[in-house]
Assembly symmetry: D4
């Protein structure tokens, strides 16, 4: 287990991270962390490693792109002084290209996505113990699907930046692909974007495996 | 124009037909026909052919399968004595096989779908002037997609029954395929099932063309 | 079809344009354009000409007169840089003279109406590809009715300004008059002002015919 | 003043009588009589003739036609044993012919209207001290208007039945016509049917004058 | 009738004047004037004298004392430039002395009441055609009751100021006393302050008689 | 203290007893006993005599008269098998005579009140350990007030029945009269019927003193 | 993993099982299984073993005791024909003895608890593949606490019945005790009964370990 | 009785003081003082000593610690110029250490608690007639419980500051301990913090006894 006693672990992202967390900052009791993978990560860390006292914070906001993250980075990431930072962003950067194709100012294209994400990572790396970069994903099994193809491209950018920066890398699309071999996408999300609790379990498990979590501790 | 002065045109189906129509029966002013293709058909008939006095009735109910239609056929179709009857059913019959695959009693498989639909058509044909059978559809451009493939199979059943019974046939999937060549499915429906108003315009236009509607009357 | 690939088409007006559009600007998915003629124009353009990618924007606000439009013209029209602009205004300018006749500061009389509308048209014409001027209307078949007579006078002003400026002209009153020969006004609107969906279909069709829309494209 | 100490005065009718009265029976404090002419009649009777102790009851129901009245006559009129009964019905009987002309089972045509109203009057006359028959009305000044013409026809039926039966007759249309000479219909009701409080004052005054009410008692 | 064609008549006061009027200013259609005596005055003026076009405005605010009126006098009275102004204030000035006797800063004692009201009257008199001063009232028949006694004292102040200033004087307590001889106070108001519609009719009638209103015009 | 370990104490009455208790029966945690004197009696019994384990039950219902109690006596009193029963009824029996004087079937006059209450007491006495009869009250200090006079008459009936039956007697009017010497009625209740929490403290203290409660136990 | 392809796993219990599941039966998408351990078990089963197609059903109802389960056993357990049945009951049986000690008919004492649970287990065992018995728990670390002591007694009954019947046994109290060594009870539940998501993770993990679930499958 | 005629008694604290009081300041009729011990103190003072006219004010705010009190001390205490001030604070200072142990900035440790409370007391003492210091409490009978132990430590600090400053001291924990000998904590509060009405009666009685209140005055 790489997380250490008393560390603060902050998640930032879009609606998949948000999941009705408490505003302005998701932290504390009463479902403050939301009903998604962040809440599940916190629950499993506390249930299995109660002595570590990991402090989980959720600052995801629905609808955000990487450009929105940049605008609130100081306040919602740096000022909170996390020990660990996990970023999962890109869904809306891509989705708007496909659901409102004529409104181009709502799109974030690959170069801007890459440049912005890299900038944020470089800015933050010196200030945290560990960075985790999670890819965005699309719950579609066909790699020929246009939006899946684009999402894979953004996932590759995340992988590249993770490698450059030494961040932990979580390939959420790969984690979902295992499940999508067995289950049609509609079982996990009618819109292929916002997962059921089972989909959030896939995300939580991928994250936890990356940080060395063990279900039955030795 | 095949609809004649004073005729009653009844639509039955699932949520795509329902679209928040007034309950127990969708008829009259104040959006009683719902916000979908039925309301648009009614609006265009009244706007372009006001002298015909076509009386449109909507009895769609969200979540219905062909089995649900059968259970309320006497009350919601026969007792209302329509001159024209339009049926669009099958979405949920198929969807439940893909979004809740383990709950088999929620599925309606092809044989049951075909037998039930045929029974309803045969029962009703002698009592109406004209039947319209609209296929169910799935807003996915790839014919290799599993659910699209199944939906196409159900569409073929509708075509077969239309041919047998002499009903007017509306191939909604074909109508959407033209649009899906230009637009990714998310533009028309995040869940590939419940269309935007543009998607309902596709349905309304397909229906109206089948009944001889002319935008600019000669 | 006079609308060209990728153009932005902005509608401004009063409650008949507004129709519960999303605020502060009506654009995008989920009924953002409202439940009136603007939403129907958008739906039919996208259904029939999906490859054009016309971007429709709605900035109508309930209760507005031409004086209210003037106050927000920079922000709600010019700053949004439309290629096409459609204006339909005047209902409230006239109606207040008839429903609250003693509150004169709520009235906009013909000279002010004409001067203000002309000013807005002249200001905007150099900045857009095409202007569409739609008359206000009153759903009353008798030309002797006092309010209908006044509304016709405002419609004439719109026609005059359209001719002066070379804008496309849509005579909505004329379009409704065809229907009012067949149907009593209460069928289209209890208050003779806010139309049913059928009335909005009359408006949408009149607009679309003016821009060269063809229901069945050649 | 023809109303006598301790008498019960019951009003029945449609939405113009109902006006959000308390259900199932409108009687007592806290606006139980609704916000229309019935409440105003009660208020003025109590304010000017407090010693009479007139007990006013409102059983109007929105949307009712004379056919609906017939169905609830025993329970809502006879069983309540009023001394005075006032009936104002016919608006919806006529309006449905004009706002939903194709749904004929919602219409009540003149013969049925006359026969039903006469039957109710004859049935009730022996059981009450005094009957008041108020005409329905339409807030349109032009007698050439189609719906006004029909409403006048229904008003004539009411007059005829009043004369036959010796009931007090209140010509509400005549009372409104005086006002409509000065004010356009929209000042009194956007839909020409549901009056403002001023319109209800016209009704209350016409009723009160018929029963011998004096604003400043001698 | 002392009100003349086209005059603006403004009412100011507390909850008895307010009665759920529209904010920020009560004027226009749809019950904007509230459900109290102001709305009834407007309704009767329009019903009986439609040709006068009296414009009634309501700026009453619940809970106000004369001190609260002073604070908003410029904005809510002078800036609105009424021809006629009617003031009814004092209920809360007195009531707080009796329902929360220990919170003295909520009380307005007679000297302050008199000085403030006189100041407002003197300030306004030159700017309006006519002033109407209505006394506050307490719906209690016993003159020995402590709060009734105090309220009568405030009523005397109003009478004195009316006489000094030549304002029309409306003795609402006297008008209610006639009714209270016949009816126990609970019939008109459970709390002896906020009247039923019958109580508002008493107020409206007292006001209208003061301005020369005639129920049946000669 | 006359209440003994483990006894069940049931209160029945009207809105003054009800005070938003939980329905169908007021018993248990979370304010189930309502916000009035019943909840305060329960709170003080538990706070001062926790070892007694008195089980308090509230079956008061707003608007009830003694006639309403009779109709639900078996279910709401006898079937619940209380050890102690406290009855406070009569407010509405009297009040309706004063607030809706013309609706006589809502009134319960003294003979019916006395006969019904006596019948209930006689029926119940053999089945409970102890009966408590509380008078109704009216928060008006003047004994000349008409409604106070009537309420005193009903209080006398309660006293008579208490004496006949050996029930504990609580003179709530007398308890309030002590306070009304110091405070005007509006401090305790705007409508002179529904007391503030201070008024409920008067009731609770009168009840508790009757049953031998001691604030500081010896 | 002891669960096999296509089996139906039904959970029954009280509020800890219920957790806002959909009524009347918790099954399907959109959080139908509630926000507690049942939903988490389902999510992890589907995420890690998607090919098994385990069908999870939740029939927990807040506030239930074992006596309430008995009353609905036929409908909510037997008629649903589960392959696996998991029971966790007893919280309310014990809690009512401590939070409403004077209302004895709300308590379920050990003998009744044991007899009823044994009866349900024996009745059901022949009809299911596998039974899981989970103890109730109390989130209090001190074994000397009165309610904890009682809850442990009920847990022993569950253990005894599990041994008799060969059911899988899940000692939830033991699972929580490990965590309670590190964290004060208030971290897991303010009321020591309804756990946070972390507490539900403890429950889900204890259940899953009992059925052979492996976080990282071999 | 130490409270004297006309004095103002202000309570400040956290949710136990707040109890849904009116904001921004709890004072006046209609439950403005909240549903807790403050409202009960006020009710009993007014019921038993109506001639004193004690003016009770509630400025408690849910969730407050002593640090939050300090931030609003000028506005919510000093500016209101109370004669008596009662402070009960510390619950949240302690609770956060136990329910969210990893979020240390939410904790107020003993030194800060003591220093801040002493500073507020010293600042205020010269400006009021009398200070009352009430300890925080925890509804747990075991003195070995960790949170009870900490709460007792904070109670000792309150006692020390009361002795130093000559304030009246109310040992709420001691008052509750008497009851907790008879009743398990869940009867008074599921979360051991927010009492039932019976728990508030314990608090009110402890306060009232400290100020010389006598239930039956001599």
């Amino acid at each position: 287990m790489r997380l250490q006693r008393g560390q603060k672990l902050l998640f930032i992202g879009d609606s998949i991270t948000d999941c009705d967390r408490v505003k302005p900052v998701g932290e504390g009791l009463f479902g403050a962390l939301g009903r998604g993978y962040v809440g599940m990560v916190d629950a499993l860390l506390q249930a299995v490693y109660p002595e570590l006292g990991i402090r989980v914070v959720n600052t995801g906001i629905s609808g955000n792109t990487v450009v929105d993250l940049e605008a609130r980075w100081q306040e919602d990431v740096l000022d909170r002084k996390p020990d660990w930072l996990s970023i999962m962003i890109g869904t809306n950067d891509v989705w708007r290209q496909y659901d409102t194709p004529f409104i181009q100012e709502w799109h974030v294209y690959p170069e801007q996505y890459e440049a912005t994400l890299r900038k944020l990572v470089e800015l933050t790396k010196p200030q945290v113990s560990q960075l985790v970069l999670m890819t965005p994903f699309f719950l579609e099994s066909s790699e020929q699907d246009a939006m899946r193809r684009t999402m894979d491209q953004y996932g590759s950018i995340v992988r590249k930046i993770a490698e450059e920066s030494g961040a932990l890398f979580v390939d959420t699309q790969a984690a979902f692909n295992v499940v999508l071999k067995e289950l049609y996408s509609a079982t996990l999300a009618w819109d292929r974007v916002h997962p059921t609790q089972a989909g959030h379990a896939v995300l939580a498990r991928a994250f936890l495996n990356a940080v060395g979590f063990q279900w039955n501790r030795e």
